[in-house]
Symmetry: C2
Subunit: 412 residues, 2 copies
């Protein structure tokens, strides 16, 4: 595919990435070249029982002083923030730029359903699929039964790359159709077989993995989580200040880390005095981040009970979340399905139809009670992907000539 | 509900509407006060066989000279364009501001799935529900089995108003759940009973109707289509010029009219020299606008054959579409389901998963062949609402240890 022309509007921008290399989160003195992107965490500091991710380092001294102040003049999408992202080697879809929707005095919902595939995952996949293009891979492979897979499929399609999505056997029909809509090859396999098959496909085909490969702890893709930094940049740009507190639905903690890192860069570059207090909001049925913080370990495995918040239901965590909470002086919050259901209803009453997992952040705020603002709750995706959507009892038909029956329904 | 605080960011803006009254499209000299909004078209020029809509007139001489040049400095959502919209009496959701995604040299997709309820209908409902709040109605009532109903439900919820949605018995389960997600009362009734029941509910409850009430021709809500003008404003703001050609999926023609009127205002205010050539793209199974243009009448009834493009499958048209095509020197294009399916696949290969109706615009461009640019195709909504989504055969499960079988699937 011929790359599409650049997005219209705005003056010429610095489009070059200032990324200079990869660095271990386990020991920041352990450094690696920028290419190839490490897809299995840090090979030096990781052990059989603990896996540390890597992150990307940048030539921060070369960031223009007015970089954030002039953001609105630059084109939409990750291009706006290109100097502080890994190289964008594949075309975008104007990802990000989602609005802060006012909820109540001092509280905003960052509505991530306004992304190209209607979830926050587009911020990661623009970067991770770009890395695949950067190494000359013919395709990407991803294990996901939801937003991540669809987003990878969309960006792969746009880049002219193949995409293989390994889903569980229980993938909701709407998500299955969503994945295939972009032309991805969808392989439904038993949940426990997904990770070994992912590795096998990556090794045998050279397809670039854009989801996790490490069983000991989540390390994920070395470049991908950098894409979530743009959430912090946008909050700062839209509020004019960094929030005082931010609540974030948390599965493996990649977004939590990206948001923290974006704020930390704003502090480093002199735009903010402090990083917001960050709360990682996990389903109470699991909660590997809460367990890791409690036990003082880099990552934890936990038993995972039943929860409908499938997008953030993880039995294993990763060190990124621990770093984000430690450095922001934040905390892990466990929220129940009932609390998420109540928060989802509250969002709907305000015109935002979110999936259950997306309501974890507001559930966290409601659990803690009123906070000094500005407060931002990240709502990650739309209600279309909830498992219960298609099994719900349909609305009853009604006899249009039976006015008393109509009236009863109106009063219900 | 206490209205939420204003959206953050940006300097103080002129937030007052410059609307001065309503005017008949049948005879522009026939004028009405701004309030109450006329929900059944023009009561003076309409006859039993032809119904003419009304539109809103503004004090254009009071629009600041730098109104469009300074748009990006103002908050997101309809607030950005408030002077050229009817009064916004209820809170918004940062509607609009959708990106132009590059497709090929000189061609952009205006991705309306990036709206608060993931379709263009939010632009109308922000205005129409605001009108309901403006007249003090306790609720809104709408006949829709899709995007329009969900959008009305979202804006009603946000405004603290009740919402009743009359759907056909065949409403897709995902859409049914979507409507109820916002707390709307969903009444499933036979298709032919929807309009009489809508009128009855409006008359007996005082709920404000935000969809059509007139059987002779579509007139719709007097204020609502004004919201679509923002599509034209945004194209101009993002491209720096007005497009040369725009393709628009067309059902009742409200969006087509709104886009035309927005461009006509840009010409009137000295920002553009000409209105783009507009193509209204209808399913070939129906096509009331094509019939009206062919027969030289203000609106036509046509037989409606089978089509999966249900969001734009209308047996009756309205005068708004005829005005838009006449004044823009454009044309009505009939596109087949096969052409829309091909266009939907082309969009998906570029990372945009659209519903079949949304692909009508690109299908229109492909039917006409290459055009001098800039060309904009409006893609109205996401693939989640297509009828065939939930009946599609799911992906096959696969034995993860059977590598030859995996390989066959990868090569497929």
């Amino acid at each position: 595919m011929t790359p599409p022309p650049a997005a219209p509007g705005g003056p010429a921008v610095p489009t070059e990435s200032l990324a200079i290399g990869q660095r271990s989160l386990g020991d920041p003195s352990v450094r690696f070249p920028l290419w190839p992107p490490l897809t299995e965490g840090c090979p030096v500091t990781s052990t059989e029982s603990v896996a540390y991710p890597v992150e990307v380092d940048y030539a921060y001294d070369k960031v223009p002083a007015d970089f954030f102040a002039t953001a609105a003049e630059r084109p939409r999408g990750h291009e706006r923030w290109a100097p502080l992202l890994p190289p964008l080697h594949s075309p975008g879809l104007a990802e990000g730029g989602t609005p802060l929707v006012p909820l109540e005095d001092g509280v905003w919902i960052k509505d991530e359903s306004r992304n190209p595939t209607w979830s926050h995952k587009d911020r990661l996949n623009r970067v991770a699929v770009g890395a695949a293009a950067g190494v000359g891979a013919a395709g990407v492979v991803v294990a996901s039964s939801g937003n991540h897979g669809a987003s990878a499929a969309a960006y792969a399609a746009r880049a002219g790359l193949r995409c293989v999505v390994l889903t569980s056997a229980e993938v909701p029909p709407a998500v299955d159709a969503f994945l295939r809509g972009y032309g991805a090859v969808v392989l439904r396999v038993p949940a426990e077989a997904r990770w070994p098959l992912l590795r096998r496909i990556a090794e045998r085909t050279g397809y670039h993995p854009v989801s996790n490969l490490t069983p000991a702890a989540h390390t994920g893709h070395g470049f991908g989580p950098e894409g979530y930094k743009t959430l912090a940049y946008e909050m700062f740009a839209d509020l004019g200040v960094v929030p005082r507190v931010a609540f974030v639905p948390t599965g493996y903690g990649e977004m939590l880390f990206g948001i923290w890192k974006g704020f930390a860069e704003l502090v480093r570059l002199g735009c903010a005095e402090r990083v917001p207090l960050l709360y990682g909001c996990e389903p109470a049925a699991g909660g590997p981040l809460a367990a890791a913080v409690r036990d003082g370990v880099p990552a934890a495995h936990v038993p995972l009970g039943p929860t409908a918040a499938y997008a953030i239901a993880c039995p294993v965590g990763g060190y990124r979340g621990v770093v984000a909470l430690r450095e922001s002086h934040g905390a892990a919050l466990l929220v129940t399905d009932d609390e998420m259901t109540a928060a989802r209803s509250e969002l709907a009453r305000n015109g935002i139809w979110a999936e259950l997992s997306a309501a974890a952040a507001l559930a966290g705020l409601r659990r803690l009670g009123p906070q000094e603002g500005p407060v931002v709750c990240v709502s990650t995706s739309s209600g279309f992907k909830d498992l219960d959507l298609l099994t719900a009892r349909p609305s009853e038909t009604i006899d249009p000539d039976d006015w008393p029956a109509v009236e009863r329904r109106l009063r219900a």
